[in-house]
Amino acid sequence: MAGTLHFEPDDRCNAFITVCEEAPYGDGRLAGVAVAVKDNISTRGIQTTCGSRILQGYVPPFDAHVVTLLRAEGAAIVGKTNMDEFGMGTTTETSGFGPTLNPADRERVPGGSSGGSAAAVAAGLVPMALGTDTGGSIRCPAAFCGIVGLKPTYGRVSRYGLVAYANSLEQIGPMTRSVEDASLLLEVISRYDPRDSTSFDRPYTHQPSTDVRGLKIGLPQEYFGEGVDPRVAEVVKDAIGRLEDLGAETVPCSIPSMAYALAAYYVICTSEASSNLARFDGVRYGPPVDARKNWHEAFREIRGANFGPEVRRRIMLGTFALSAGYYGRYYAKAQVARRNVEKDIERVLASVDIIAGPTMPTVAFRLGEKTDPLSMYLSDILTVPANLAGVPAISVPCGTVDGLPVGLQLIGRRFADEQVIDAAYAYEEAAA
């Protein structure tokens, strides 16, 4: 039965940029379910800012494919969630609309960049939300806030309507309280869309199973070594022990190319971003340019005034990496490193079914704790490999350190999202 959902959340964590107090819904498998949508996913008639002042007031005239699918299953789109500006961050602190707080500890960051979606789910404001994951932006906040977050196989979910940050890396995915909900949400949003040329007609229709007998789990030494908080590593190892109890077997392995993964990731994502963000010039939408100035001056002014410092930094890095004379040294090399990571992960996944490790090397940081961009970038080390390789990866809550949530990350083969879901489901059921 179609209707309207009244939604007035007690948003103490600043999870939402836009709240839809009267959210219409329809019939279907998500009839009347409140779903929050990250603010870089286009929603017809609802402001979509990407967490940036440069898009303030922009109301898309069309729905992203995933939003069309949500509406078709009856979901009530109740709001747009806060995020690092254009997805560029690991804490949601770079948002142009103030940081989101972690519901588990409001002195701490929720992770990012889908921090608003994670906080909205963790705070119980909504049962499910959509996030996007370019280098860990679903899994990191899921881990920090203690919820489930899945980055699907690249190409499994249409990106049509997702405002691009780094096209070749990012996917839209579910952020939910349970693996079962993540599975249902993925089923809804993975219907094929020919408008995204990089997507595949491989819809996900799967009922999660807890049977992991004989499942081979690879434990890369890089996921438990230097830079990883030993307490986090211990919690994660215990969780993997649960899977062994259920009949899975573990084998040690290694992904040597990970040494270059972060560098490759940051060159590729900033390069693509420098081009993607060129369209924000104030001519067609967003805060308008001063039409009395010459266009070049006006563009520079509006971009300088409305992009935050992290976005400006990444645009400059990417512009540099693509410049004549530097392309070969940076962009082209990063692509080679990316292929090496892909091959490494493929090789490992030829002998094991799942790669397991912590989602994040630490628990959630304090607000304002990380001021140096480089140390911030380093915290993405365990999540970027799945984006570089295009493989599915899930973060499922697996315990706490000092009362703060820790995420178990499970990475699978391309288009084996089902297997990743099953392993996470088995753990979740066993831990319950």
């Binding site: 922009y58 997702l162 691009a164 990089t198 369209r279 693509l322």
Partner: protein, 473 residues
């Protein structure tokens, strides 16, 4: 001093929809910004989706120019800021174009066949269009029309094989002919062709002339440049390697230094599109008959001359028209289309597409059946064309002939006129009889005058002679 010219030609492919979205390409008579969607407006989140017909059109060209089609070609982003470029980058092709290494044959200035090498062809999207209000550099503001944004362009790049402005023009005419034969281009559409030309004098730096938008413009711009560069060299001033703009209205090129510095376009592969694998696709493409083949067939099938065959096959629309009217009489049709009709059309700057072939065929029949004289036929044709040009309903040649009384004078009417003329000029008759044969021309001229050209002069000469020799006057 040898002139060295290479061209980069951009042509709009005449697909029904744009290169990366479903918007219609038929925007020329419509309001600004009415053929747009999130994709061609570059709205955040919109994604490009390749138009397969545009790729096929590009491949047809590649095949017709005997090019090597790349097994896998790729789109790339060319990054630069300009208000007519909605995404801040243009989707084009860079190091992996559709095809490389082709040739086009043209005539050089001495009339000899020569090959112009084609470096590459690639697909790209057209930007929008800026309309400056208030005039040129002092415009108070500019408006942007995105109807053109995303129209498929094929860029065709030549090696520096052209040796004169005239050769460059002949190359473009030939290229247009081939593209129209392939059905991928309509040269009559405004702004459908844009050319950048690189020109240098041997041993000196080269200059790029941008913004040329017509066949004649290319010849004019290059002629201006040859003169300008020769004069500089003569005065000992070195040629500066630069980009210049062609000012069509003034027929000159001006330096655009300072305005447009050397760009770093930061090309990289377009991450929203997969590489194109077209090798199998190419094999399935069947080419239509091209100008050279059609010229040979015309000579063989219709028995017409090389000159006529060449003229008739240069433009696919003319060739098609000829084939629609040749059934009346191939030789007669060839003469009347190539020698008369094309000249009359050229005089009116009119397209042959506006001429109804059935009416033209009827006119040929009237000529063939000797119902009208050549002179009267030309008059009928002119009336026909003027009506078509004015957009009036076409009138059949018979109707025009009757209405203007242009039918060949015959029978009694004719004899009566001859008799009247002979009776009115006894002196001339006398002169003729006394051996002054020139007097006959005078008499025939008088009859022609009376019949207003409806009589055939040769036939008339025979009749007048006969009449004088048999009559008692």
């Amino acid at each position: 001093m040898t002139v060295i010219v290479g061209l980069e030609v951009h042509v709009q492919l005449n697909t029904r929809t744009k290169l990366f979205c479903g918007c219609s390409t038929d925007y020329r008579d419509d309001e600004p910004n009415t053929h747009v969607c999130p994709v061609c407006l570059g709205l955040p989140g919109a994604l490009p989706r390749i138009n397969r017909t545009a790729v096929e059109y590009g491949l047809r060209v590649a095949k017709a120019l005997d090019m090597d089609v790349l097994e896998e070609s790729e789109f790339a982003r060319k990054n630069y800021f300009y208000p007519d470029l909605p995404k801040g980058f243009q989707i084009t092709q860079y190091d992996r174009p559709l095809a490389i290494n082709g040739t086009i044959e043209i005539e050089d200035d001495a009339g000899r066949e020569k090959e112009v090498r084609i470096t590459r062809v690639h697909l790209e999207e057209d930007p929008g269009r800026l309309v400056h209000r208030g005039g040129g550099d002092r415009a108070r503001y500019s408006l942007v029309d995105y109807n053109r944004s995303g129209i498929p362009l094929l860029e065709i790049v030549t090696e520096p094989d052209l040796r004169s402005p005239q050769e460059a023009r002949r190359f473009l005419v030939k290229l247009r002919s081939i593209l129209e034969y392939l059905g991928v281009f309509d040269g009559e559409r405004e702004g459908a062709l844009r050319v950048d030309a690189n020109i240098s004098l041997e041993g000196h730096d080269r200059v790029e002339v941008k913004n040329i938008s017509s066949y004649r413009g290319v010849e004019k711009a290059l002629t201006f440049e040859v003169t300008r560069q020769k004069n500089l060299i003569r005065r000992g001033v070195p040629i500066v390697r630069e980009t210049r703009h062609f000012q069509e209205a003034r027929g000159i090129t001006t330096s655009s230094r300072g305005k447009e510095e050397e760009h770093d376009y930061r090309y990289f592969p377009e991450p929203d599109l997969r590489p194109l694998r077209v090798a199998d696709w190419v094999a399935g493409i069947e080419l239509p008959e091209l100008p050279a083949a059609r010229k040979n067939r015309f000579m063989e099938q219709y028995g017409i001359s090389l000159i006529h065959a060449r003229t008739l096959t240069g433009d696919v629309k003319v060739a098609d028209f000829y084939e629609k009217v040749a059934h009346v009489d191939p030789l007669l049709a060839a003469t009347w289309v190539a020698d008369t009709l094309l000249g009359e059309l050229n005089y009116r700057s009119m397209s042959i597409a506006k001429v109804p072939p059935d009416h033209f065929a009827d006119l040929l029949s009237l000529i063939k059946q000797d119902v009208v004289t050549d002179r009267a036929a030309v008059q009928i044709l002119r009336v026909m064309l003027d009506r078509c040009a004015a957009g009036e309903a076409p009138e059949s040649p018979e109707a025009i002939m009757e209405r203007l009384n242009l039918g060949k004078a015959a029978g009694g009417e004719f004899t009566a006129i001859v008799r009247a003329v002979i009776e009115a000029h006894p002196q001339a008759v006398e002169d003729y009889r006394s051996g002054k044969k020139g007097a006959l021309n005078y008499l025939v001229g008088q009859v022609m005058k009376e019949t207003r050209g409806r009589a055939d002069p040769r036939e008339l000469g025979r009749i007048v002679t006969e009449y004088i020799e048999t009559s008692e006057v």
